[in-house]
């Protein structure tokens, strides 16, 4: 990261400072201050709606605060955090979030890579294929989940109807643990695979053709070309999609919330909390139980996990790069 020099060639070209002309002084000010004015809307709005909540949540996580009376707070130190450590509902939510994160991210990115490879061939109707695989991205979480909840229905669901041809008995997706988690992961995968495939495709197209040509000269077959030219060329993009998908997966909320198909407390994530995620537990603590301090501690725990994960990933990515 280089710090930009303040003396641009252009500033030298302008009349020297102390020039009496009001115009040149205005131009100089303009050059100095307008960049800050241009970036300020972002930072002002972020300060109000991003940074302030961040700090407020940190402060609240060290207090006992109730939603009925948010202005009253009692200092409790780290109690909200130590309570979390022994709270089996928290660990249950953590485990569910992790499991569904793996179930929805790993197959999704692998399929996206394969799909991108296919889309990279010379195809008739190229634009059509690209738009069609991206179409799930246009739906909302809420709409997609309601439709899939029906498809995964126990008695009349389409998926069980298909499975019975394979001789599999009807599965009660909503009330199982693994079956519900797999079903929810399918919704996530359905929505995002095409999107990630396009990102991979864009990266594939920026790999110079000469690399393939020289690999072909060396007698590499298609599979070897894919392994030794395409995958290394995509490494930064792959790392990036893993990070973004994981951050998304750690915040999973809408799909499991609506998957139960109604009921009195959808944020519980099933009758035995079998698919309650961290976000849902956060919501339950904050808005159902109305313990804002506890909810804030969960939110900060999530934030720390994400930062930790991104750091580990960055280090690993650097390691593999320097090892080469």
């Amino acid at each position: 990261m280089a710090v930009a020099t303040t003396e641009s060639p252009l500033e030298k070209a302008l009349p020297p400072p102390g020039g009496r002309s009001w115009r040149s002084r205005r131009a100089r000010w303009d050059l100095k201050f307008s960049p800050y004015a241009f970036v300020s809307p972002f930072f002002v709005l972020f300060a109000a709606f991003g940074l302030y909540p961040l700090i407020w949540t940190a402060w609240t996580s060290l207090h006992k605060v109730e939603l009925e009376n948010p202005d009253q707070s009692t200092w409790v130190g780290l109690k909200n955090y130590t309570d979390l450590l022994s709270d089996h509902n928290f660990w249950n939510a953590f485990r569910n979030t992790f499991q569904m994160g793996v179930l929805s991210t790993v197959p999704q990115l692998m399929m996206a890579l394969g799909l991108a490879h296919l889309l990279n061939y010379k195809l008739r109707g190229r634009t059509f294929w690209r738009v069609a695989v991206l179409s799930p991205f246009a739906t909302s979480v809420a709409a997609a989940t309601l439709v899939f909840a029906q498809l995964f229905g126990r008695d009349y669901g389409f998926i069980n109807w298909v499975l019975h041809f394979a001789g599999i008995h009807a599965i009660d997706f909503q009330n199982g643990t693994w079956s519900a988690q797999i079903a929810i992961s399918v919704i996530v995968t359905w929505r995002w695979t095409g999107y990630n495939a396009l990102i991979y495709l864009a990266a594939m197209q920026s790999i110079p053709a000469e690399q393939y040509e020289s690999a072909a000269m060396d007698g590499a077959n298609r599979w070897q070309q894919f392994r030794h030219v395409t995958v290394p060329g995509l490494r930064p993009t792959i790392v990036f999609t893993i990070v973004v998908s994981t951050i998304g997966a750690s915040q999973l909320f809408g799909e499991p919330l609506l998957f139960s198909g109604g009921g009195s407390n959808p944020e519980m994530g099933g009758v035995s909390r079998q698919y309650q995620t961290l976000s849902m537990y956060f919501y339950e603590r904050g808005f159902t139980d109305q313990h804002l301090g506890r909810a804030a501690a969960i939110a900060w725990a999530m934030f720390l996990m994400i930062v930790l994960f991104v750091l580990i990933n960055t280090l690993l990515a650097r390691r593999t790069r320097s090892a080469k």
């Binding site: 710090v3 307008s34 960049p35 709005l45 972020f46 197209q205 990933n313």
Partner: protein, 297 residues
């Protein structure tokens, strides 16, 4: 932070680079198998849409038929009507249009301004501020939910649309997206020439940068509009069914007491149609925008 390396913006009509090259260096054609696999993927992608239309157009006695009817029934408009009576989907559609329109317009304007400054202007702390901007992407939105909720209550904005509009008016992704685009698309000489002519930074922005940034602005606008339309967590916290966005209305359909499944599906279809229409008309541009280095915003 992982670094993204967005691909350079593509000129329209530019031929794709060769890839999957054979001995002669010609681009490989997809085999029959390629088309078959792609067709299966597309079927899976589109099937839930078709299912929604099927379910929304049947009567409730027919929806649970196994195997299902493969052709839409005649009850679509009856079910639309029933859905509109159950939740205020009409109001929700108008609200979502207002919210998504404002958020898209604001994001595009502020992102283009900041993206231009980060791409082409020299100022102290530029790289630090840019790093900060990208760092803000790591903050999970859950962190903001409770304090924002209390803030909106204090301001008296709860259940008003501005409570959904203001927090999402800027996006780090948008700033980064515009910066990457302008780095390549805006020649330094043009900015310098404007300076020599004595134009102010704002004038240069309006008459030089905006015309060049227009394609990227359009793409960012569409992506933001769609993301805002589909936003779920924050709206269900701060809005009630008296003044819902489409997602809040769909949430009410799914979790409230609605007598039958086909009406739920009809309401879901109503709420999805506008975005779907945008997507079908502008699908090519959206694909192009994502391939220009879009990331999940």
């Amino acid at each position: 932070m992982a670094t993204v390396i967005p691909t350079a913006p593509r000129r329209a009509k530019r031929r794709d680079r060769k890839s999957g090259v054979n001995q002669a260096g010609k681009q490989m054609h997809g085999s029959k198998l390629t088309y078959v696999i792609l067709a299966v993927v597309v079927l899976i992608s589109i099937f839930p849409f078709y299912w929604t239309i099927l379910a929304a157009s049947t009567s409730n006695t027919e929806i649970n038929k196994v195997p299902p009817n493969w052709l839409p029934g005649g009850n679509l408009f009856k079910n639309f009507h029933a859905a509109l009576n159950n939740v205020d989907m009409g109001k929700a559609l108008v609200n979502s249009l207002i919210v998504s329109g404002c958020v898209a317009a604001g994001t595009v304007m502020f992102s283009t301004l900041a993206g231009f400054a980060f791409a082409k202007l020299r100022f102290r702390f530029r790289s630090v501020l840019l790093g900060l901007t990208i760092g803000t992407m790591m903050v999970p939105y859950q962190l903001g939910i409770v304090p924002l909720f209390l803030l909106m209550t204090k301001l008296g904005w709860s259940d008003h649309l501005q409570s959904v509009i203001f927090p999402t008016l800027v996006s780090a992704f948008g700033v980064f997206f515009m910066r990457q685009y302008l780095l390549n698309a805006l020649p330094d000489e043009l900015v310098e020439a404007g300076r020599v002519d004595g134009a102010s930074s704002l004038r240069i922005f309006l008459s030089v940068v905006v015309p060049i940034a227009r394609p990227a602005m359009a793409v960012l606008g569409m992506l933001t509009f769609m993301a805002s339309w589909n936003d779920f967590f924050w709206p269900i916290v701060v809005l009630t069914s008296d003044n819902p966005t489409v997602q809040v209305a769909i949430d009410n359909l799914g979790s409230g007491y609605v007598p039958d499944e086909s009406i739920i599906m009809a309401g879901t279809l109503l709420g999805t149609l506008p975005v779907l229409a945008v997507f079908i008309v502008l699908g090519r541009q959206i694909v192009g925008g994502i391939m220009q280095g879009a990331v999940k915003g």
